[in-house]
Amino acid sequence: MGNVLVVAEHRRGELRDISFEMMAVAPRLAADMGGEAVALLLGSGIDDLAKKMAGYGVKVKVVDDPLFENFNAEKYQKALSALLDEQKPAVLMTGHTAQGVDFMPSLAVEKKLPLVTEAIDLLYEDGTLKATRQMYSGKVNATVAFKEAETYLVTIREGALEAPDPAAAGEVEKVDSPLKEDVPYRQFVEYIEAEVGDVDITQSEILVSVGRGLKEDKNLPEIEALAEAIKADIAGSRAATDAGWIPHDRQVGTSGKTVKPKLYIALGISGAFQHIAGMKGAKTVVAVNKDPEAPIFNEADYAIVDDLFKIVPKLTEKLKELKG
């Protein structure tokens, strides 16, 4: 059977967007492989999530077991290992997320199955499954072909596919829990919320955002002067927050905040996919970067290829002048 088994991801009572995004590819792929798309939900008390998932026109299998109350990679691996043996899907698909990356590689090793991670597209052609993924900070695409195997394991990049609209409701089927006992060697303790800072950048109208191009924190005053001149809040890419130049609660991207300002000025930010995912809701984007190949330019409305330090002081001065 050429079924595509999709592990629907949820956390704290809500399905995550990636679960719906995978529905953009799973049904098509399943049809090409002669099977159907099946969503799998592992959790506890998740009837409403199952119903919502089924609303995307797929069959949903639900394992409802208190042992799955919180995500645990070891439990997921055990359960999926048993389900692979029993159901033999052609493809096992998860999000390329903190959940997916925590068990798919070990599952692949355990079951001696091939794995391709962070795919942005999948195609089944002439009996071969091929994935497209990116390398070298998004500057190169790679086509990776799977050699023939009983099941192909693949993780899908978040935000790469557009979730389809909900369709006719699919059937929901309860499945016995494949987990017979708890795993004492890995225990969930708690979730800790992200720290809250003085400014909530998700509410900002104008953001001046800096990246690796800032080079060092002593260059911050030039950025602050620009922000002050246009009443903007300051944010940063992962590189800027990792380096300690910008507080962590002001990080834009998948691991930080998703922002949607009227104006987003990206200075010295190359535009890694994880960053783009956090700012593509901005109405107007200005990007200054000295690398003409920087992916941020794909998202920009106005672009300047130059060293930010040659642009920012003059820009600040001119803006002050024009705004009077």
Binding site: A73, Y136, V140, Y185
Partner: protein, 262 residues
């Protein structure tokens, strides 16, 4: 604590032009500058912090060319005790599952409490090697870790989830942790450390020395084929502002103000 830290020598392509070689499956690396992979740098720091806190020793493990020894010595200058560099062109480097098998083969048979590695490599970005390595070694793991607390016989770690949420889990040792960037502050190597590092042991080995069957980790053993690399089409819809730097700044200011964007 006995720790292994697995690190990779990667090109910095953040500001470099990347060109695909005529073979279609490699990129021209001749003009790149190489250094330790960013996340691995945080893994090295974490391994040294653990050693400073709990005692023990840290062994650096890396698969890579002779030139990467600069990086390996730097990790030893920061406090790692010894190193093993694996070099063998029979390894299917495009498949993280094969790479994990080689790393496991380099560690197996030795005692360890922890294996640390970066959660992500900046060149091929699979985010798979560390978790696969744990399975090869038959030990527990946690990925995307940005805080580690060593307890009695176990570790309490914070995993970085999307949106800045942290998942705290406790796992029994021995274990593999893949380290995320930003959780610590990688130190600079002290001059004295750099001198001492020159005298520390750095073993260079191949698959035969490790007792790994090349057929188990080569392109035939790999179940995936890297078929083609290509440069994605740029979909820039941006208006590129041209001119001297001052002119560009002025034009942009004028667009922002007159376009009512501020």
């Amino acid at each position: 604590m006995k720790t292994f830290v697995c690190i990779k020598y990667v090109p910095d392509t953040s500001e470099a032009e990347v060109k695909v070689n005529p073979d279609g499956i490699t990129v021209d690396q001749s003009r790149f500058s190489f250094d330790i992979n960013d996340a691995d740098n945080y893994a090295v720091e974490e391994s040294v912090l653990i050693k400073e806190d709990k005692g023990g020793e840290v062994t650096v493990l890396s698969i890579g060319p002779k030139q990467s020894e600069v990086m390996i010595r730097m990790a030893m200058a920061k406090g790692c005790d010894q190193a093993v560099r694996v070099e063998d062109d029979r390894i299917a480097a495009h498949d993280p599952l094969m790479v994990a098998r080689v790393l496991a083969g380099s560690i197996k048979g030795q005692e360890f409490d922890l294996v640390l590695t970066g959660c992500y490599a900046a060149d091929d970005g699979h985010m798979a090697t560390g978790v696969a390595l744990a399975e090869e070694l038959g030990v527990n793991h946690a990925s995307m870790v940005n805080k580690v607390e060593v307890l009695d016989g176990k570790v309490k770690v914070h995993r970085e989830l999307e949106g800045g949420l942290a998942e705290v889990v406790e796992i029994e040792l021995p274990a593999v942790l893949t380290i995320q960037t930003g959780g610590n502050e990688p130190r600079y190597a002290p001059i004295r450390g750099i001198r001492q590092a020159q005298k520390k042991e750095l073993n260079v080995v191949g698959l035969d020395d490790l007792g790994i069957d090349p057929a188990e980790v080569g392109v035939d053993a790999s179940q995936v084929v890297l078929e083609q690399l290509y440069i994605p089409e740029i979909e820039a819809k941006a208006e590129f502002i041209e001119g001297e730097p001052e002119e560009k700044a002025e034009k942009l200011a004028s667009i922002l103000v007159k376009g009512g964007l501020l």
